[in-house]
């Protein structure tokens, strides 16, 4: 929802009237900026992978550099801000409890001069009080939990649930989705908690809540715990222990394996692909209670999809990764990067062909999905051969619509539950009920 990107600049501030015009000026620009990044973020991915963003022009901070002692700088910074307008009044006493701050007077002058700050453009370039703004909390938490990515994860889990060869159970479906969503929120929050200085240095991630000081690390951890623990408990107790275990394992894999591994070895991409593959497996186990071949196939399809998707994306982020110290194939092993992407595009074709063999779908599925699988493989091949920006972008954007379409086709080609009666897959449901819920 767009509400997530609602301006934080319009809320009431602790030092109200002085900064309000500032905020209004800022908020207009921020509106366009955030709306635009919202549109860009529509193309979002699995929760282990970096988002795609056209590199935003790196905003040059207007203020002068930060010094260890922060004193002179504070003064300089503030004087720079208020240069066109003479100080109106000096309400504050010279003495300050904070011996670090000698620039109190100047700071006060800034407070006094209302319209001075037109030079400062966006919110992110002002000094802000580090106090939790309750009215902004929903937005902050949404960004902390990467809500859009979470939504995508939940939808892949729902796809897993829907593909399971059992009659559709709505309460179970809702509980599983909720549990998965909460687990994803927790994992994403911990990921952001671990990555604050690195996120600050990359264009894509520098506006995250912890980077901007909008909430404290303690709160982030508490939020993660308050999402993760109920989420996993819900999955374990209300759905089934297997799903709960998978959820907990996935959180662990993402936060304790993938996140640190990103900075240590290129193996992180494979771990991340597993993280992305587990949600549909969770959906399946939530429906059936068992981990059977169909679950693994779905997981396999998502696993393979991660590679063309992420490798293509990472091709454009090489500079940021290199500077930030992230070990990604696109930087260290570019040939491997492209080979793996192509390999997995082709694997998708193979996996789609296996689906009917396992009785998950009819034989129409590999046939109908062949065009899109061939297309992504073609783009993967082009990326492999050309190894340039445009081919990587094409592959990335293709992966964005390829997955939903593949899952949709899969669902429409799903083998009807009724035909499975003989195999005894139904969980004690009557034949009559099964007839009603029969899928097209």
């Amino acid at each position: 929802g767009l509400f997530v990107w609602r301006l934080t600049g319009t809320g009431p501030r602790p030092s109200p009237c002085q900064l309000l015009p500032l905020c209004q000026a800022a908020s207009h620009r921020l509106a366009t900026f955030q709306y635009f990044s919202f549109l860009k973020r529509m193309y979002v991915t699995q929760y282990n992978k970096d988002l795609s963003q056209r590199a935003k022009p790196k905003s040059e901070p207007v203020v002068s550099p930060f010094h260890e002692l922060q004193q002179l700088d504070q003064e300089k910074k503030v004087i720079h801000k208020i240069s066109p307008i003479p100080p109106v009044h000096q309400p504050w006493p010279e003495t300050s409890r904070r011996n670090e701050l000698r620039g109190v007077k100047s700071a006060a002058q800034t407070e006094g001069s209302v319209t001075a700050g037109r030079a400062e453009s966006t919110e992110g370039r002002q000094w802000k009080e580090m106090k939790l703004q309750l009215e902004e909390l929903p937005g902050i938490l949404a960004r902390l939990s990467k809500i859009k990515l979470t939504a995508l994860v939940v939808s892949t889990a729902s796809a897993g649930f829907a593909m399971a060869p059992v009659p559709f159970d709505l309460p179970c479906f809702l509980l599983a989705s909720l549990g998965t969503g909460l687990a994803s929120c927790a994992a994403n929050s911990i990921n952001q908690f671990f990555e604050v200085p690195f996120d600050s240095n990359m264009n894509r991630t520098k506006n995250r809540p912890l980077v901007r000081g909008q909430l404290s690390p303690l709160l982030a951890v508490c939020f993660a715990a308050s999402c993760g623990i109920p989420g996993i408990a819900l999955l374990t107790l209300a759905v089934n222990p297997l799903t709960g275990a998978l959820g907990a394992f996935n959180i662990f894999l993402y936060t304790c394996c993938y996140t640190p591994l990103k900075r240590m070895s290129i193996a992180n991409t494979w771990v991340g692909a597993v993280v992305g593959a587990i949600p549909p497996v969770m959906g399946w186990t939530a429906a059936t209670g068992t981990l059977d071949a169909g679950a693994l196939l779905l997981g396999g399809i998502l696993y393979s999809w991660q590679f063309p998707h992420f490798n293509a994306l990472s091709w454009g982020l090489r500079e940021d990764y290199s500077r930030g110290g992230y070990c990604m194939m696109s930087v260290t092993h570019p040939g491997l990067c492209r080979r793996v992407a192509l390999r997995h595009c082709l694997a998708l074709i193979g996996l789609s062909a296996v689906a009917p063999v396992l009785d998950i779908t009819t034989w129409t599925f590999p046939i109908i999905s062949l065009p899109i699988n061939l297309y992504i493989s073609y783009l993967g091949f082009r990326f492999y051969k050309d190894a340039d920006r445009s081919s990587s972008r094409k592959l990335f954007f293709c992966s964005l619509w390829h997955l939903p379409m593949l899952l949709l086709v899969m669902f429409t080609c799903k083998k009807s539950v009724l035909e499975k009666e003989d195999k005894g897959d139904l969980r004690g449901q009557s034949h009559g009920r099964a007839m009603e819920i029969r899928l097209p």
């Binding site: 922060q70 504050w92 409890r97 904070r98 109190v104 370039r125 671990f194 604050v196 200085p197 290199s322």
Partner: protein
């Protein structure tokens, strides 16, 4: 930040380190625990600032040098006829990125360890401080009620 404020203030990203500096508020009745927390945060901030400022500067410098040497090898100038700064395309820069990453790998490993240590310590201290404050507030409430 104004003198009367009771909270910390966070500023815009630093030009070199891209980190946002925080000015910590020192309350007059700061407990030893709170002081430990504040000092831990200040130390972490200083450490991070040092690392990233140096690292980013090195990156930009080495990047310039790389571009310069490559352009020279190709027989081109830093600026072309129109006065625009000449750049190399992404594929040529890829060699530099790979090189830079592997050169700085051990530096990053060390930094990662330090950062995780700082992060956990600070968060744990924050938890302790929050708990202490909560208990204090409860005691105050009880006293007022009686």
């Amino acid at each position: 930040p104004p003198a009367h404020s009771h909270s910390d203030w966070i500023g815009p990203p630093d030009k070199h380190s891209n980190l946002r500096p925080i000015i910590f508020h020192v309350p007059p009745e700061e407990s030893p625990l709170e002081r430990r927390l504040r000092e831990a945060r200040q130390e972490a901030q200083a450490c991070n600032q040092r690392f990233w400022a140096r690292h980013n500067r090195a990156f930009h410098q080495e990047k310039e040098e790389f571009i310069y040497s490559r352009l020279k090898a190709k027989g081109l100038e830093m600026r072309d006829e129109t006065g625009q700064k000449a750049t190399l395309n992404a594929e040529e820069m890829a060699d530099f990125y790979k090189d830079f990453l592997s050169k700085n790998f051990s530096k990053h490993m060390q930094y990662n360890r330090d950062w995780y240590k700082h992060n956990f310590t600070i968060t744990f201290l924050m938890g302790q401080v929050a708990l202490a404050r909560a208990l204090r507030w409860l005691r105050w409430r009880k006293k007022n009620v009686e």
